[in-house]
């Protein structure tokens, strides 16, 4: 009995301590404000049709979710659409039902054919271009950019094949990411690799804030999903097929679907290999990472009232009827820039009433998330209080009964 009581008091003590410390359910500290995508199909030859279908499927997905073409670098190593063997000239399908032509008029390919090589890929990542390389072939990211890097093709133990003639190793990619980190050219990176033994390609990463998804372990192959008899080749890989099944249900602006959920939607049984999701020195709680942090393009917005600045040498009439709240003359109870609210006795403008909400204008954390964290903290505290009350109540009852 005594031991039980001691235990309950110790438990109570721990609970009380937790009550006084705020519970931080999320440690989001990123300054993310734009998204980029680098989508690479590194294979050539007609029989690697499925690789271009994989790449174009992801291309259309990120476009649908909001990333504009100016922020997408698409690298396709061969021209399957206009291949002599293509019985659907100018079209590429990722499904035997031919529901969607992936190669429509709305596809902007930045690197094509033999331009897709290891040197150009690494130059793209590190930013070391020749001076004559145009802007659309440069990764113009900054410290607020989240980058989705998707690679598909043939690979092996710590390498990815380019053009069937050269390879990029895991160390090269890791070093490239480190150089990006040194020059603050990314906020976070999501690295998705779909090749044989894909998971080995991120075994050497050592830079922070990188999440990596691979579809197969060392010694495993990555398999195609199905064959299209009319085209005569496999049209899509299993990993991409099941990824699309999940991603097609995400609407633009989705702020709930986490990366973990996306990853867990693909089972080893389905894709016939062992996928892996790994986070490298991720600043945020990995469970809070959303799919839309990389796949979409949700811009944070901060609304603000204007300060009471005016312009010098203003020849306007002082009594102009410009209502600072807009021209609609709507009678609002809280009129932000109404001079009557000022305590001024003079021409200088006091910032008290016109000061924008300092928190709002200086923070780029979405207000919704901050409120959600606070709400969760409150629920937790209320729960703890109820728990303490219940412990006291039952211990008293126990004493009475004994």
């Amino acid at each position: 009995m005594m031991k039980k009581q001691n235990f309950s008091y110790i438990f109570l003590f721990c609970v009380l301590i937790n009550l006084f410390f705020p519970v931080c359910l999320s440690t989001r500290t990123s300054t993310h404000n734009n998204n980029w995508a680098v989508i690479v199909c590194s294979s050539r030859f007609w029989f690697n049709y499925r690789h271009v279908a994989n790449a174009l499927s992801f291309y259309h997905t990120v476009k649908r979710l909001g990333i504009p073409d100016s922020n997408i670098i698409l690298m396709l190593a061969d021209d399957w659409a206009c291949n002599a063997r293509n019985c659907f000239p100018g079209k590429i399908f990722n499904n035997k039902d031919h529901n969607l032509n992936l190669y429509g008029t709305n596809v902007e390919i930045d690197y094509r054919g033999y331009e897709v090589n290891v040197e150009n890929f690494l130059r793209l990542l590190t930013g070391r271009h020749e001076p004559d390389v145009p802007r659309n072939k440069r990764l113009l990211t900054d410290s607020g950019s989240n980058i989705l890097v998707y690679l598909t093709g043939h690979g092996g133990n710590e390498f990815l094949k380019f053009q069937d003639s050269e390879e990029v190793s895991s160390k090269d990619i890791a070093d490239a990411f480190e150089q990006m980190y040194q020059k603050k050219r990314y906020n976070e990176i999501l690295f998705i690799i779909e090749t044989c033994q894909a998971n080995t390609l991120f075994s050497k990463f050592y830079s922070p804030n990188i999440a990596a998804i691979g579809c197969s372990e060392l010694g495993e192959n990555s398999y195609s999903h199905h064959f299209d008899s009319s085209i005569g080749v496999q049209v899509i890989d299993s990993f991409t097929y099941f990824s699309l099944n999940f991603l097609n249900n995400i609407k633009p602006g989705d702020s709930h679907t986490t990366l973990e959920k996306y990853f867990n939607s693909m089972t080893p049984k389905q894709i016939r290999s062992q996928p892996r999701l790994e986070f490298f020195q991720f600043q945020r709680n990995p469970r809070d990472v959303l799919v839309s942090d990389f796949f979409g393009s949700i811009h944070e917005v901060v609304s603000h009232p204007i300060n009471n600045y005016t312009f010098k040498n203003d020849n306007d009439n002082d009594n102009d009827n410009d209502n600072d709240n807009g021209n609609a003359n709507i009678n609002e109870k809280e009129n932000v820039n109404n001079n009557d609210n000022f305590q001024l006795k003079n021409q200088f403008q006091h910032t008290e009433k016109t000061q924008p909400n300092m928190e709002q204008s200086n923070q780029f954390q979405p207000r919704v998330e901050d409120e959600a964290i606070e709400l969760s903290d409150n629920y937790f505290r209320i729960g703890m209080i109820i728990l303490i009350f219940l412990i006291f109540f039952f211990s008293i009852i126990e004493k009475i009964l004994t």
């Binding site: 807009g326 021209n327 021409q347 200088f348 200086n362 207000r367």
Partner: protein, 535 residues
């Protein structure tokens, strides 16, 4: 000729010809980098920038319950505030001393006059006309010294608070008629908060300070109304002075303007509401909530067509179509707003046109939107909004003190980044021992080192303008060195690759020579053995 001799001569010939060829083709030119200087510089601490503040007060005017104790407390508190508000690279040197204000300020109620009188009376104490002119010239060229004068006054006709004049570095605090010393000290504390006005949170980009600003008039629905605007007049009138000030002292800001039509709104996200206007009539208006704003307006598609190497900051004046006029952004507290900023993209101001027949937005119509853009530009430059206890001249968008702090913060940031870049580059070059290092990289690294050293020496000489521009050049050279296209591991071969290249060339030549030589040696040895046995 003896076979052995032939073999030996052939071998010698191959080695003598082949070695220089191998050496010259395999040797990589590596320019000698100033490694020691680079490492010393990277590990050295930045010099501290000292902000000098003269706190002046007239003992006769000062209203406190106990002057002596207030003055002694003031000196202690001021030291505390200077530590509280100082950044890593900034130190405050504060001197307090009494003055005698010759004019009677008690009956004054015009802050501008008071500022002018203070400036005249304080400057006459020490400087002559010529020196004044020299200082003005320096100001015009962008040179400055972070020396500030803070004057304590007790003016009954004005509100209590800090008065920040538009130009110059004289600030005065009106302590009012109160004798409450804690209040006075609080006001003085608020003054120090001006020096923490710079933040990276709202900054448009941390990569560079040179910007291109694109002003876009976005007409949602031009059917029946083709809009135009008097952009040049409005810009020259409202924003040109501020941008010129920035161009002289801080960074290169260029601009252009554009008109775009047919911007889509996701109609399902726009709410129709009713309100009662000032005439007690019902009016319909449209609103979008802040949470749906990010999806409602397709910012990514609204790019300007400018092609520039600088980051493009967009200021968009959005004119909703007749169908969605007037349009506002709702906040949760039901206040309506008509402007918002999108970090990394720019700012948007919604301009509702009451009169559907309007076709030209003249300079007056553009006054308010340009005010909004001016506010947004402050945020994008990283300048926080002023503390609520500070009175400022509203005709000056960026005050001198704020610009001083922006320059100093950026200067130190540039130095830190340049040193970090050089160190990263050094580490990278070390990891690629077979990489060619062209003279170009050496020159850029040397220039970067010189730039950093110049900047630091200018800081010590208190010439902050030159220090700032030197730091800018240093970081530019660092980036040119770091992003040089020749730094690519794929271009260079490691030692085993070198052998792999030359083995197919030399092995066929050397193999028969070596085997022949070995044969000759073994036959020579056999002969020797035979001779022994014969004996």
């Amino acid at each position: 000729m003896n076979t052995t001799l032939k073999v030996l001569l052939s071998l010698l010939f191959v080695i003598l010809c082949g070695s220089p060829i191998w050496y010259h083709t395999m040797t990589v030119h590596q320019a000698k980098l100033p490694t020691n200087k680079l490492l010393n510089l990277s590990s050295s601490a930045n010099p501290k920038i000292s902000i000098q503040i003269k706190l002046l007060y007239d003992e006769e005017i000062l209203k406190t319950s106990n002057k002596e104790s207030f003055l002694s407390q003031l000196k202690k508190e001021v030291k505390k505030y200077s530590k509280e508000f100082q950044e890593d690279f900034l130190t405050f040197q504060i001197k307090t001393h009494p003055i005698k204000l010759q004019k009677d300020y008690n009956n004054m109620d015009d802050p501008k006059k008071i500022t002018k009188l203070l400036q005249e009376s304080l400057s006459f104490q020490k400087e002559k006309e010529k020196e004044k002119e020299k200082e003005k010239e320096k100001e015009n060229q962008g040179m400055f010294e972070p020396k500030y004068t803070l004057v304590l006054l007790n003016l009954p006709k004005l509100s209590e608070g800090i008065y920040l004049p538009p130009t110059g570095r004289l600030v005065w605090i009106n302590l009012g008629e109160s004798t409450n010393e804690n209040k006075h000290l609080n006001n003085i504390k608020n003054f120090f908060s001006i020096f923490t006005c710079i933040t990276n949170t709202t900054k448009f980009t941390t990569q560079t300070d040179d910007l291109h600003i694109s002003f876009i008039l976005l007409n949602q629905d031009p059917r029946g109304r083709v809009l135009n605007w008097e952009f040049e007049k409005a810009f020259n009138n409202y924003l040109q002075p501020t941008i010129e000030k920035l161009n002289t002292r801080f960074s290169e800001i260029t601009h252009d303007s554009e008109m775009i039509a047919y911007a889509d709104l996701e109609q399902s996200r726009v709410h129709k509401s009713e309100a009662i206007n000032q005439n007690n009539e019902k009016e319909v208006y449209y609103s979008i909530s802040k949470n749906t704003l990010r999806r409602v307006i397709q910012i990514g598609e609204w790019s300007s067509s400018i092609a520039t190497n600088k980051p493009v900051l967009r200021f968009i004046l959005f004119v909703p179509g007749k169908r969605f006029t007037p349009l506002f952004i709702n906040r949760s507290s039901k206040k309506n707003r008509d402007a918002f900023i999108v970090p990394g993209i720019g700012g948007i101001s919604i301009n509702n046109l009451n009169n559907s027949e309007t076709q030209l937005l003249n300079k007056n119509d553009l006054r308010r939107p340009f005010l909004v853009f001016a506010n947004q530009m402050r945020l994008f430059l990283g300048i926080k909004n002023l503390n609520k206890f500070i009175y400022y001249d509203p005709s000056n968008i960026i005050h001198d003190i704020e610009l001083d702090m922006l320059i100093l913060n950026t200067l130190i940031k540039n130095l830190n980044e340049a040193k970090h870049s050089l160190l990263s580059l050094h580490t990278l070059i070390k990891e690629l021992p077979y990489m060619e290092i062209p003279e170009e990289i050496r020159i850029h690294i040397q220039n970067a080192i010189n730039g950093i050293q110049d900047s630091e020496s200018y800081i010590n000489k208190k010439n902050y303008k030159s220090a700032y521009f030197s730091s800018k050049r240093a970081i530019d050279d660092c980036n040119r060195a770091f992003f040089n296209p020749s730094i690519s591991s794929q271009l260079y071969f490691e030692m085993q690759n070198r052998f792999a290249i030359y083995i197919p060339i030399f092995l066929p030549m050397l193999a028969p020579l070596i085997t022949k030589l070995l044969k000759q040696i073994s036959s020579f040895l056999k002969k020797k053995k035979k001779k022994k046995f014969q004996f």
